[in-house]
Symmetry: C2
């Protein structure tokens, strides 16, 4: 089965890995971005087709450039 590439999953993994490297909880990332913890959890599980503004908010909260979360 030729699994279609899912950009949401790759982005979600990048957010999770970056967050964990910085020892930040989903709750804390939620606070920093103004997004709900469950939304962060869904993003990290590749369930959300995140908007540009939320991608930017997440990257700012993690102190990385958007390009670092989307380098593919």
């Amino acid at each position: 089965m030729n699994e279609k590439f899912d950009v949401k999953i790759t982005f979600g993994n990048n957010v999770k890995n970056t967050r964990l490297k910085q020892n930040i909880s989903q709750e804390k990332l939620g606070d920093l971005t103004g997004l709900h913890r469950t939304y962060i959890s869904e993003v990290e599980r590749g369930r959300r087709n995140v908007s540009l503004e939320n991608i930017y908010a997440i990257s700012k909260a993690l102190n990385v450039k958007m390009s670092e979360l989307l380098d593919f």
Copy 2:
């Protein structure tokens, strides 16, 4: 007046500049992405809070990595 940074405008400019460098019309980019020409026009004018999947479609159509359109 401290104008708040607008990620939509910067992304739109990057899409437009990349498209023009490749001599691709908005119409053609619309065809390549499956998105309507007017949607492309609104993205380039910073009027659209583009979703991750559409950012990916645009970057694929322009043959650049998403990180090149979001290097900020």
